[in-house]
């Protein structure tokens, strides 16, 4: 994931301004061939380059646990993958649809608490079932938790998405806090500040994902599936409607897009991925606690998106990998061990510098193609 070379050739050389006399519309323009790295982010340029780079990154990710076997780093990589999905999901809302969501952690919490409550509070304590037998439910939960978060997203989104800009941000911020406060105080359901422990791990029959090594691969698989789904959503009629709303809501409505419905859809889709990751998180750590879902988490997720670059598919991934790894790596310094609060400050400085020198994020929000040519099939099918 270290392909953050300068992306100079991506910026078009000329930008026409209203009132500037134009050339005849027929006049084509010569475009310099993009370099292969740029091709990954723009989708222009040869397709094999993108697939090759994607394959390379996946290969590195798959080989990583064989090279680095320390538990500390394997745990970290798993957490990184969780944040990769969270940032990418949030990017649907913030980057593609242009809605500022400061309460994204709420959906993560809903997923996490769902898994904990259904297993420990309902099935084990409520019905007295042996939850270690119910391995299949760990998988079903991922989808149900995501679905639950998506439903919560549309419930909260329905009244709030009428608001714009700052007002929406404040409402979502409040919602993020409300969920945590409810989790902290509804002791009967969530055990409040003592948290829910004993959430079973993912398992297939007797094969339990109990080591960090196994969990890492599970997280990797979930991340790959999530990113695949997100990329398909974005490169479709749905993604185009979202991007149109971001670029100009009035014009989007004039194109026949039901803007409130699509904003709600964006919100729910983003929430879905947070929900699935919440379930994963709960079943990975076996323990859910309100402090996992603090306000700060929402900000961190937003920072990942901003850091990597909004509105692209690669940006949030790069943001999550760099930021979360850096945060852990900083712990190695003696100075930071003595003054742990400095860590937040370092991250703050990084973000400020980034905003000054590269406001578009490390990767930059360069556009992803919002459609996919489906030509190849013409030969075989039609």
């Amino acid at each position: 994931m270290e392909q953050n070379k300068p992306l100079g050739p991506l910026e078009p050389a000329e930008s026409a301004r209203p009132g500037v006399p134009t050339e005849a519309p027929e006049a084509g323009r010569f475009r310099a061939p993009l370099n292969p790295v740029a091709a990954l982010f723009t989708g222009r340029g040869p397709e094999w380059v993108r697939y090759a780079l994607l394959g390379g990154v996946l290969l590195v990710a798959a080989l990583l646990p064989f090279v680095i076997q320390s538990d500390r780093w394997l745990t970290l990589f798993t957490i990184v993958l969780i944040y990769v999905v969270l940032a990418s999901g949030l990017n649907i809302v913030v980057g593609f649809t242009g809605l500022l969501d400061l309460g994204y952690v709420a959906f993560y919490a809903i997923g996490g608490y769902y898994a904990a409550i259904i297993f420990v509070q309902v099935l084990k304590n409520g019905f007295g079932l042996d939850i270690s037998e119910m391995w299949w439910l760990t998988w079903v939960n991922v989808l149900v938790g995501g679905g639950l978060a998506a439903v919560a997203g549309s419930l909260i989104g329905y009244p709030t998405l009428r608001l714009r800009g700052d007002y929406l941000a404040i409402m979502t911020l409040a919602f993020g806090e409300i969920i945590r406060i409810v989790a902290n105080n509804w002791v009967g359901l969530t055990r409040g500040p003592s948290g829910v422990s004993g959430v079973p791990k993912f398992a297939i029959g007797d094969f339990v994902f109990k080591t960090n090594f196994r969990s890492y691969f599970l997280a990797l698989a979930l991340a790959v599936i999530s990113l695949f789904v997100i990329s398909r959503l974005v490169r479709s009629r749905v993604g185009r409607a979202w991007t149109a709303i971001r670029d100009d809501e009035v014009a989007a409505a004039a194109m026949g897009i039901n803007t409130s419905r699509y904003k709600l859809l964006s919100y729910s889709c983003g929430a879905f991925f947070a929900g699935t990751m919440g379930v994963f998180f709960g079943q990975y750590l076996n323990f859910i606690h309100p402090s996992n879902f603090k306000l700060m988490e929402s900000f961190v997720m937003l920072c990942l998106v901003v850091l990597g670059g909004m509105g692209g598919l690669v940006g949030p991934v790069v943001g999550a990998v760099i930021w979360i790894t850096l945060q852990e790596w900083l712990r190695d310094f003696e100075f930071i061990q003595l003054h742990p609060e400095v860590r937040g400050m370092v991250m703050g400085i990084v973000l400020v510098l980034l905003m000054i020198f590269r406001p578009q994020g490390i990767i930059g929000g360069r556009r992803v193609p919002l459609y996919r040519k489906l030509r190849r099939e013409r030969v075989s099918k039609e």
């Binding site: 026409a16 009629r237 100009d248 859809l265 459609y371 489906l374």
Partner: protein
């Protein structure tokens, strides 16, 4: 039966009556120009008809159906497309994607179709892309297909807006000052394009300040001043109407 008809359309903003009791109609395959001095309420008529805001009173009938108060996306679905006075393209999207967005209301698949790409969504998507390419060629923008809309030259942005509006497969096309900021050569090409679109079976209503364009292509001209209709007729008639001359130039003593 006219394609579009407004009956005593009125739009009030606070204490300002922007449009006052305007009756107008547009017939099949006609090119109607809506003209008038700045602030006469022309764009307000467009916005009230296309649902950007509901009319304060009066009615809008499109193809025999009362549509006043419909939200904009509904109006577009029924077949009214528009361009904007100050160009409102989706700046970060490519020219082709802009036209694809235009086809939003003529395609159906949503999340499930997007994720699984079943046969139906593939068929729709393929058709949409092919049609978008056709439309870009039609307005002469094929060479800009993958260029971000905001980087297009000004005149081409206007053309792209028209292509995007056509992509919604309208039966009535509203053009809000399509020739604004164009040089004579460009506006000449634009007139050819508008004629060509009409010849393909389209009803067009446009707001325009460029009198060469208005006189050159409209079948009928409607003149608004201070929110009221003051004249209506052929370009020749309107040009000679003393009320119109007065509205534009003031009363001669």
């Amino acid at each position: 039966m006219p394609v579009l008809e407004t009956r005593s359309l009125t739009k009030v903003f606070g204490g300002l009556t922007a449009v006052n009791n305007v009756d107008l109609h547009v017939d099949q395959d006609e090119i109607v120009a809506l003209i008038g001095p700045n602030g006469a309420g022309k764009t307000t008529v467009f916005n009230a008809v296309t649902g950007v805001y509901p009319p304060s009173s009066g009615s809008v009938v499109f193809q025999g159906r009362e549509i006043s108060g419909f939200p904009p996306h509904k109006a577009t679905q029924l077949g009214i497309a528009r361009t904007f006075q100050n160009i409102r393209l989706f700046g970060e999207m490519s020219a082709l994607e802009n036209v694809l967005v235009g086809q939003h209301c003529r395609t159906k698949y949503t999340v499930v179709g997007a994720v699984f790409r079943g046969p139906r969504s593939r068929r729709e998507e393929r058709g949409a892309i092919a049609r978008a390419e056709e439309l870009l060629e039609y307005v002469g923008l094929s060479s800009y297909q993958d260029e971000a809309a905001r980087n297009l030259p000004y005149g081409s942005q206007r053309r792209l807006e028209i292509a995007r509006a056509l992509a919604t497969q309208p039966s009535l096309l509203f053009l809000d000052e399509p020739a604004a900021g164009m040089n004579p050569q460009e506006s000449g090409a634009l007139m050819d394009l508008i004629r060509q679109i009409r010849a393909g079976g389209m009803t067009i209503m446009m707001i325009e300040h460029d009198m060469k364009v208005v006189m050159g292509i409209s079948d009928r001209v409607i003149v608004l001043d201070h929110g009221e209709k003051i004249s209506e007729g052929t370009p020749e008639y309107v040009r000679g109407d003393p009320k119109v001359i007065e509205a534009y130039l003031g009363k001669s003593a």
